[in-house]
Amino acid sequence: MTAPQEPGSNPRRAFIAAAGAGVAGLGFTAIAPGLHLMAVGQADAAEVRKAGSAASPAVRWGLLIDAGKCAPGCTKCVDACHTENGVSEKLPDPRQNSQWIRKIELVDRRDGRKTELPMMCQHCANPPCVDVCPTGASMKRADGIVLVDRHTCIGCRYCMMACPYKARSLVHVPLTEQNPEVPRGQGCVESCTLCVHRVDRGQTPACVESCPEGAMLFGDLNDPSSAIAKRIASVPTTQVRSDLRLNQGVRYQGL
């Protein structure tokens, strides 16, 4: 499950390469000890994107989630996400509810060690959902955020079949009282947008902001000076189902 070492993970080589190349996963070898990840995340928040301007391909937004800090039983990130995005329907069959983000409990079969982590769209660089979408409604924005165009999604659910993370949901019922910034619709597929509406305003995703443990770090994976890139360069991180080589924007540490 552990991701293969990325080229340049040698600290010295990483330092030199990061200084010049600015490639995701390369960077400085250390982060200031004791620095609060959430604070870093906020400091690392996006530049405000002007209305009408395109997302920049120079940026790759991503998340680093420290499973070691994720508090057992805490669902603040889930609650914040669903509040922010107006995901409020509670259906009799919970499997039909939309789950933009969920907490997963892991128990290591070898030693019984328990870990919890939030799971959501992994914002892959090579997203299977985008490949399989017949209409192109599933798309990857230039800055790496994977989205669904609610105007062209026909609700075929092929992307849900293709997603290795079960990160996508079909809206099973007619909706009312939506958040105007986050349009949703019956019969369309949806998933975590990385709070793109907040990111475009220069804010961090709601889940990151809500985490009391500072377990989630948001930032630009392409910027070697960003906290997330530095952190990924300095600690072992994991891409879930790295065997698929999807190059996810969401990484985990502490697994």
């Binding site: 499997r95 892991l106 799971m119 399989v132 092929y158 809206v171 019956q186």
Partner: protein
């Protein structure tokens, strides 16, 4: 025994009315689903494709397979199959219409079907199918035209060959829907494309045999023994070939350490295991093979038709196990960990179809049935065999 002409006409209208009613109820169920949302179905965010997809994929796969009968005549020059080509073309159009109707009506946004036609993603197998299916209609229609219009006869072989190539491409596309899925253990293998082709040969021929026998019985005729023998041998070959692919698929999967848990689940430790062994293997494979090879039953039209019907029943079991079973098994995101969540992570899911989706699925069969019933009535597609010619050709090739 041939029906009295007056009774016969009444019986035809009754059948057409039943088919039309089933189709209308199916469309009504789809409208209800469209109005209420998929909350009224048994499908959910774990098992996202359900019974409608099982039935639709059967109809689509069998639709291309039934054309094999025509191809045997026009492409491979088998005279026995030539008089059967028009019926084969009609059945292909009828079944693909039923299958596509179910797929389209099950969409979360069925009202946006025009979007599927105007927005094309070249990397999507579904996207390819948006092209494959309409062209299939076109080539089969042209092929039928070359058969039915005397002046077009010279083009019949070319049209037949084009149809044969296209139906192979089409079924490759259908199998590839699953072959291109990397996420789940049940899918994601190139074997599925050729396997779907051989499944289509088998299921299409089974459907053809049943329809052909019904038409002969309707007209007070018995299927000539030579025709029966040839076609039942072909069916047996296809059934055995599907079994071969099934064995290879599971054998290879079971060797891969990452897939062992899934194979154990689907073959031995789930509600799908019984469907696999009893439904697909016993009912859909071994019993038909026994009926088709046992001299006591193989020469009788009744038992050959029973075998064909069992193949069709087995096909539904096979697709149910493949499509529903493949989704019911949890995604293996964290090997070496026990996993749980609010969203069925690490847990086997259970699916039971609701009434609306059952009616929608039956509606697809109703559409195929109605089109076939009316088509054979209007177009007089009962095969007209010239046995002197067939026997001469057969002895020449034998």
């Amino acid at each position: 025994m041939m029906l009295n002409p007056r009774h016969e006409e009444g019986f035809f209208y009754l059948l057409a009315a039943i088919g039309g009613l089933v189709s209308a109820v199916g469309i009504g169920a789809a409208l209800y689903m469209e109005h209420s949302g998929h909350v009224v179905t048994g499908m959910n965010n774990q098992i996202v494709w359900g019974l409608p997809h099982v039935v639709a994929i059967f109809l689509i796969v069998a639709a291309s397979g039934v054309l094999n009968v025509a191809s045997m005549g026009s492409v491979f020059g088998r005279k026995l199959y030539k008089p059967r080509a028009p019926l084969s073309g009609l059945l292909a159009l009828a079944m693909i219409s039923g299958g596509l109707a179910v797929i389209m009506l099950d969409l979360g946004r069925a009202d946006r079907i025009i979007v599927a036609a105007t927005h094309f993603n070249p990397t999507s197998v579904f996207g390819w199918n948006v092209i494959l299916y309409p062209v299939f209609y076109g080539v089969v229609a042209v092929y039928l035209w070359t058969m039915m219009e005397r002046r077009m006869h010279p083009w019949m072989k070319v049209a037949g060959f084009a149809t044969f190539i296209w139906r192979i491409v089409l079924t490759t596309g259908t199998g590839s829907i699953f072959a291109f899925l990397v996420a789940r253990q049940a899918y994601g293998t190139a074997l599925l494309a050729p396997m779907f082709i051989i499944m289509s040969f088998c299921w299409g021929l089974a459907v053809f045999l049943v329809v052909q026998s019904t038409m002969y019985a309707w007209n007070g005729l018995t299927l000539p023994p030579l025709v029966l023998q040839r076609m039942k041998n072909l069916l047996a070959t296809f059934v055995a070939a599907v079994l071969y692919f099934t064995i290879v698929l599971h054998l290879v999967n079971a060797y891969f350490a990452k897939n062992i848990a899934f194979e154990y689940f689907i073959l031995f430790d789930s509600e799908f295991a019984g469907m696999f062994w009893i439904g697909q293997i016993l009912i859909g494979t071994l019993l038909p093979l026994a009926l088709l090879f046992n001299p006591a039953t193989a020469a009788k039209s009744l038992w050959v038709n029973v075998a064909a019907l069992l193949v069709i029943v087995g096909a539904y079991f096979q697709l149910y196990v493949f499509i529903i079973g493949g989704q019911a098994f949890p995604l293996d995101m964290f090997p070496g960990y026990d996993v749980k969540s609010t969203f069925m992570d690490g847990m086997v899911d259970h699916y039971s179809a609701s009434l609306p989706e059952l009616l929608l699925a039956l509606g697809g069969i109703g559409i195929a049935f109605t089109m076939t019933t009316i088509g054979v009535r209007i177009l007089h597609f009962l095969p007209q065999d010239d046995f002197a010619e067939i026997e001469a050709a057969t002895s020449a090739t034998d």
